[in-house]
Symmetry: C2
Subunit: 375 residues, 2 copies
Amino acid sequence: MTAFGRHEGTAIEELGREAIEAALTQSGLPLSEIDIIFCGHSLQGITAGQRVVSRVGSSGAPIINVENACASGSTAFAQAVMAVRGGMARAALAVGFEKMDRGPIAAAKRLDTGAAERPKGGPPVMPAMFAEVFKEHSLKYGTTVRQMAMVSAKNHGYAALNPKAHHRDEIGVEEVLNSRMIAEPLTLLMCCPTSTGAAAAVVTGADLARAGSKEPIEVAASVLQSERASAAGALHFVTEINTRAAKLAYSEAGIGPDRLDVVELHDCFAIAEICHYENLGLCERGEGGKFIEAGLSRIGGKTAVSTSGGLLAKGHPLGATGVAQVAEIVEQLRGESDRRQVPGAKIGLSHCQGFGGAVTVHIFSKTRTKGASAA
Amino acid sequence: MTAFGRHEGTAIEELGREAIEAALTQSGLPLSEIDIIFCGHSLQGITAGQRVVSRVGSSGAPIINVENACASGSTAFAQAVMAVRGGMARAALAVGFEKMDRGPIAAAKRLDTGAAERPKGGPPVMPAMFAEVFKEHSLKYGTTVRQMAMVSAKNHGYAALNPKAHHRDEIGVEEVLNSRMIAEPLTLLMCCPTSTGAAAAVVTGADLARAGSKEPIEVAASVLQSERASAAGALHFVTEINTRAAKLAYSEAGIGPDRLDVVELHDCFAIAEICHYENLGLCERGEGGKFIEAGLSRIGGKTAVSTSGGLLAKGHPLGATGVAQVAEIVEQLRGESDRRQVPGAKIGLSHCQGFGGAVTVHIFSKTRTKGASAA
């Protein structure tokens, strides 16, 4: 992945090129050996994937632009896995990228609700939705605003150790609580920033993967599920589809949540991370608030979560996020994560939720379990 | 496919629903039996596929929005074929749809050139590019403006027989020549209209396909190639990648161009159809103008081309086009095309070129040659 940040004045094609070249170098494969290319992005216009890939070269290989809102990058990765598993490609490239403006405007403008950025002077659409999620969760399980702030503080702490993160300041719980109110009770530092950046991954069969310059990491499960929000409420939507996708992934990998060493999940808002602890089975239903409070999602706890800094602090360039999560997990399993390394990490999971809706769950393993590998 | 046209006041979700329900009915499969869904569109915003599919129901099955400019629909179809061939899905659904405004604005606005609709008061971007293609082709091979007009007259004639076509008036060669000048020497009637519409196709293995209410048609080849325009000029770009994609498709199907009974090709402008006669091997290089003039691309000629009315007259809702081409070929091979039926049609081909760029070629057969089928 490239560094995430504002990148004002840098073209997305240039960031995409940087990510692709790094992935190809690690895989040991030139572009000419890539049989199919999936490009995930949401706001970059028609055939943006072709614009990006052409900066590296042209092989004629199929390029498919895929979009699934905040899960666009992970959908591209899932498609690359599908192409290799199905034998339609020996090597597939997944690229995710996004150039975003400041503030919620660019994304909200194109959300399918047709809602304006700040309907009738109220809060922006997505923070307002997650404020609802918090209220329902709090009412049902006693989750607190301070527990949300602890999530943000943890993730900002890890981002401070990640040279590629968008926001690299250590931030304390009080500072999170005292930051500007966005959608009661969500403060600014409980919301992910809009960011710009790119990431890429090469997926191949096991034999080809061993030719790379870096240790290949196995894809033990790849799940994509789609569903639109229902009338059953915001918390139901954030719960149901994610829980189902996680179960499918654990079943596919033959690996349960207790065996996970490191997890990148879709912490677009601090309450989302708390919900996803539960949805991914890292703790029991309703125990997410206690899970962060007890330090169980920290390095050295039960399961290290968002060691990259997560969407909250590493940043969230929509299409790049899902592939950047793969980069973090792969680096953790290779033992390359420096001061935020999870000691002895062997199994990892990445999870994205694109509103609109699509959920992806991928499980990665340091040891051989299946055929497809990400390098 | 739905009727193509302006459809003012009708939501794209409603048109998409109509197309999906028709495809499911023909396939004999309910939505719950579809393992994966690919939605092709270019201008419909974030997770438009989920919006459309939710009108039919929700099964949780993966939905992937794919975009490849004017080849978005055919890319969705190619992905559905890939999923079934690779054994990742027993049944896949490809949906293409687009709601477009009048005039070239909506598309040009988001083209990657950054060019305005009418740069410096000149002609619109795409017609100007194809005017260049004509000039090069004419200089090299003696192709005439009248031959282009013959293409438009032929396709409008077939559209008059197609109840689902956008423009259903019989139009003569003189009328084409005398219509408003868009980009010298291309007149209005040598350019495809912007249209609104939707189309859907179900792809399954052979066994499942036989359960449908209609005769299944085999997918004998599915090719997608990507390449950006080069400095070698407009004609080179329209020639090279299309010729290569067609050769790959013929090789995959083990079927040469001489065996084709019916072809839907990317006649976005009249000169494009002439070039694609050559690129697809329906005639020798440089003979495209003579091919139309001799009536060889008419029903009863050598190979019937654009019997639906083509992009020029049936219309061109970007994402819908590639799937609608499949609908036309499938209906022709089933003998359901009424007054525009190609007698005894057994083998057909569909071809799209998305500028930006992506080219797809699909070959279909009435008789069994391979595993995947479109119903």
